[in-house]
Subunit: 203 residues, 2 copies
């Protein structure tokens, strides 16, 4: 089955698979940026990467998934980081720091690509919808991570709200950062968004 000894952590086949996936993703992003999301069919996406339509769907569950899957990756990492934060830390801080740990470096290094990705995601209705869907699912995962972090069997409502508001702050920061073309310190933008979010429900 799987190889028992995996030199750098991955099987050759797995690295190959990742290569195809990357190529598919890159080609798709280029094509979508050029002719728009709705105007591009999956056939074109597949052709652009030199594979069949059927193969495209073996790598991505849907057309939207090519764009959104990046966010899925980020989500997984955020969940892992949240869980690793010290149990005594307030949920809001844990989420904020987790988000920062996952995104800041990445955004700074790939500024242009990140900006383009965020723009597309927030502007094209179909993508925005999928983004909202992902966030919805991610909220549950983060709430559970927050609970595990402090040895609770399951998340309290309050942790759910904390996770939700944290994601709202994250999304708000993304939007703002993309609006200034990524010409701002991601960490500062995130901090500002979280601070502002914290004040939103004051009475």
């Amino acid at each position: 089955m799987r190889r028992r000894t995996e030199p750098p952590g991955l099987t050759l086949a797995e690295r190959k698979r990742q290569l195809v996936r990357d190529e598919l993703g890159d080609a798709a992003l280029r094509l979508l940026a050029r002719q728009g999301f709705e105007e591009t069919t999956v056939d074109q996406l597949a052709a652009a990467a030199g594979v069949s339509r059927r193969t495209f769907f073996r790598y991505f569950a849907s057309k939207e998934d090519v764009v959104i899957s990046f966010i899925g990756l980020v989500g997984e990492q955020i969940v892992a980081e949240v869980e690793a934060r010290p149990a005594g830390e307030p949920p809001a801080v844990a989420i904020r720091e987790a988000v920062k740990a996952v995104t800041v470096e990445d955004f700074t290094e790939n500024r242009e690509k990140s900006v383009a990705l965020i723009r597309h995601t927030l502007q094209i209705p179909a993508l925005r919808a999928r983004f909202a869907e992902r966030q919805d699912l991610l909220r549950d995962d983060i709430a559970e991570a927050l609970a595990r972090r402090q040895d609770l069997p399951e998340p309290t409502p309050r942790l759910h709200f904390a996770a939700g508001l944290g994601l709202l702050a994250f999304a708000g920061a993304l939007k703002h950062w993309a609006e200034v073309d990524g010409h701002a310190d991601p960490a500062a933008v995130l901090d500002a968004a979280f601070t502002e979010a914290g004040k939103a429900f004051a009475l």
Copy 2:
């Protein structure tokens, strides 16, 4: 074109249209409850209401829309109520009271139907996704209503977060209320959810 004098507020044609829409909605909800969402095709939905497939899509933009459109109605009303709240009131309170004004009576009167609707929406992935999408759009609308209410040209980030957290509280209350089969005072459940949400980001 439209009639100039509309006796009880609506044209005959408009009331007729509403009738068909209601019938379509009722039939759909019955059918979906019986055989599940994914397992039901639009053809069946249309047939159940004695109408052609094509006509179905003249009343609802998508299959999900039959279920979700109820929420769209509620959303519009909430936006209107929010805008009508006094300008001095904190955003969180404005939203809470607006939601209460729109939903409490309705939920109390149509308990069973409401519970079923909420259950479906939150449990079936495709519906949950559309629900998240609607919430996402509604958030912007509520934020704008909050801004108009206090004569701001456009919503501040803080108002966006308030709108978002308000909707999280609303959704949380819906979930909880459905979980206890609607055997709880909707107003109390909402109040509790909003209070809890307000504490979620405390440091």
